[in-house]
Symmetry: C2
Subunit: 349 residues, 2 copies
């Protein structure tokens, strides 16, 4: 099954129309479309259009809110806690990072916890918002319980991801994000949707046995990054998101595919204003490190050292020209939903 190629601008315009059809105000629809297109352009397709059908389902069933009223729960000099009222991540998650940046501008570092976001989406996108003000952005997100604790067999702990964005003078934005599972769960969902197998070491089946069947893996638990260390990181990130925002433990989220129940994720956004904090040229220090790292002797079998974000930026630049490749099933889902909400369809380029 070959991919269908669509232009990035056409995809952005389509998704904006579709989100408007789902009840979002124009500006918020544009933000949601931008986050999803950004994921596709960077090759983070686990958080791209494959997610759209579930977002649409939730918005139509009222388990995600197209017009949230974001509420401030606590407001301290360098910290706020917001309730996202089940709004879309591109709307309420972006707001959290903006609040963290406002706090950091005043205090050096700033943080904003968010509860009850309908999802987080591509977390690197939120961290990268800090780069617009030449700040460091860090975003830790909760996720539905899909990891077993180390030595356990129940889906309890989210494969809670983290993203870092670091200002520099490089041609590409330095962005690193990772889930605390061996791979992001979206890749298992994508493989399951495409009927493809998954490598060993990604997931366990519902009984706790290793599996290469993506459909079984999607029903079972993800395996943590690096064994016990990934379990520890995921649990700490739960304490920094679910517990710190009053969102309830990761295990209390419904399954991602169960659109009948509200999916209410927490996140913690942190911004640091490095120029002021250092009292010097932070970006020059980052550039110096990048220069040294890229000049390393190569290990056998490699032809280049890459900085996190560099490969994604190349994919981004290439896909801006050549278009985004969507699985036929994903493309079909997009147009089925567009027809249902009365939005103009997406055309292959």
């Amino acid at each position: 099954m070959s991919d269908i190629t669509v232009g990035a601008d056409a995809l952005h315009a389509f998704l904006t129309r579709a989100y408007e059809g789902l009840g979002l105000p124009g500006e918020d629809a544009i933000r949601c479309a931008a986050q999803m297109v950004d994921a596709e352009l960077r090759g983070v397709n686990s958080h791209g259009c494959v997610r759209f059908p579930v977002f649409a389902d939730r918005l139509r069933r009222g388990t995600a809110n197209p017009r949230p009223s974001v509420r401030t729960i606590t407001d301290l000099p360098a910290y706020s806690l917001l309730d996202g009222d089940l709004g879309m991540s591109a709307v309420v998650g972006s707001r959290a990072m903006e609040v963290a940046m406002e706090k950091a501008a005043a205090a050096g570092i700033g943080a904003c916890a968010l509860r009850r976001s309908s999802h987080t989406g591509h977390v690197g996108y939120l961290a990268a918002l800090a780069l617009q003000k030449e700040m460091i952005g860090i975003v830790i997100s909760g996720a539905t319980g899909n990891l077993a604790p180390w030595g356990g067999a129940d889906r309890l702990i989210g494969n809670n991801p983290v993203a870092f964005a670091v200002p520099s003078n490089q041609e590409f934005p330095i962005i690193f994000d990772m889930a605390t599972s061996k791979v992001a769960r979206g890749y298992v969902l994508l493989a399951a949707r495409a009927g493809e197998p998954i490598p060993e070491g990604w997931a366990l089946d519902p009984e706790g046995n290793p599996t290469t069947d993506a459909a079984l893996g999607a029903k079972g638990t993800m395996l943590p990054l690096g064994g016990y260390k990934g379990y520890g990181l995921a649990l700490m990130f739960s304490f920094l998101t679910s517990a710190l925002s009053g969102n309830g433990f990761d295990s209390e989220q419904p399954d991602w595919l169960d659109a009948d129940h509200p999916f209410a994720l927490p996140l913690l956004a942190i911004a640091i204003d490095p120029g002021r904090c250092l009292g010097g040229d932070y970006q020059a220090a980052v550039d110096d490190a990048v220069r040294q790292v890229k000049a390393s002797r190569l290990a056998p079998g490699f032809d280049e050292i890459r900085i996190p974000g560099e490969g994604a930026h190349r994919r981004y630049a290439a896909a801006l020209k050549s278009g985004v490749g969507l699985k036929e099933a994903v493309f079909g889902d997009l147009n089925r939903i567009a027809a249902e909400v009365g939005a103009e369809p997406l055309a292959a380029s």
Copy 2:
């Protein structure tokens, strides 16, 4: 070669005398001894007494400073940058966490970057200081360049560790720390000191080949946790410590064993006051998560789910009673140095 057992109190008293013999004021000597004994008691012996000979060497050669003048470089409402004047970590690293906690008490979150600490030591110890005020503590430390970048063969990036301490009502303190290498470099040094081999996957030799020879691994590069992800984390932690504190890139540190040159590490301490930030009972939320995690169905081959810090606390409690086991070579080094600085020797219990 069997271990030699010493009582924790006797070890603490001995190390205090030895650090005083090396020129530290009494209170600072006590802090240094406490950090090192804590590492031994918790089973983090890679950061215990095996490190003492190099600390002693540095203090005697003037490449570490027994009486540092800590200087404040920048001071913002929620953030400070300190220069540690090559002081011992238990002194200047603790000071950084205390400043972060003072900032957090005022602003919700607080951070303190530190440059020119002579070392960081057992990083969980510094994070756990936050628990005294029922705060969350996070410490990220720089390390000397000992990881190659992904696809490279040069020692450039520190296996920069992170530690989290989370307040709760559990009987054990929740503390999770990890290096971004597959294992902490101290375990390679410990194996090299004991003439023991290391498992595959821990280190590469100086030419970039996999090795099980601890001595070669100690001269080569450590392998990152989880491949590319560990590389990404280590580099982000460098940007948050070395670059953010103006400490110079990780690669610019001398080798740990080269005591002729100052070893000047950076760290970033972050404290969050969770009760105020949440406006509710944070510790109850953590307890609820812990209860759920510990109640998980077990996977085959496991008889218990442990929370990070729980196993270390059991080792701690047991070793408080039964004593700390030191390798004969390490025990010998301690008493050789004690004799040199005129401190009373350590006796086996």
